[in-house]
Assembly symmetry: C2
Homo-oligomer: 90 residues x 2
């Protein structure tokens, strides 16, 4: 559980420094930045002619896809859990 | 469940057209594109001086954060489900 102290970190993503601020730990923010940096470099390897803006947009698209997939899986699990709990109480 | 037909769609994100290809439905790909476009415009409103590349990187960062949060929640649910199923079988 995060407390209400704002954490500020400077992170490097694809050659640029970004100042991030949030209620998460510095470690979490650095992990997020590293994952985005890794994904940008991975996409760049298969699309070497893309400029940084398009590369970053495709990274966001890729991550949004992953987000929706995991969200869908979570909703299925919630449903399963609800049914099991309903079965236990019924 | 998706079949193995490759779907190709052209989507507009923040004024640029991207050609996407994947095993997902065209609807899913358009949803992903719309969500990225929305998030870019939302971040742009609070950071009007950012160039497109930085805006897109921050959109990726924001989405990666959301992804990790949902993934964490899903892992907790999986754990809970495992314990309940263990209890039922034990």
């Amino acid at each position: 559980m995060s407390d209400q102290t704002i954490t500020r970190v400077a992170v490097d993503i694809y050659g640029n420094t970004y100042k991030m601020a949030g209620y998460e730990s510095a470690g979490h923010m650095r992990l997020v930045a590293t994952m985005v940096d890794d994904k940008m470099r991975e996409i760049q390897r298969t699309n070497p002619s893309l400029d940084t803006a398009k590369l970053a947009v495709l990274t966001a698209v890729n991550t949004m896809h992953d987000y929706l997939k995991v969200k869908e899986q979570m909703e299925q699990l919630e449903q399963e859990l609800k049914q099991i709990k309903g079965g236990l109480n019924g």
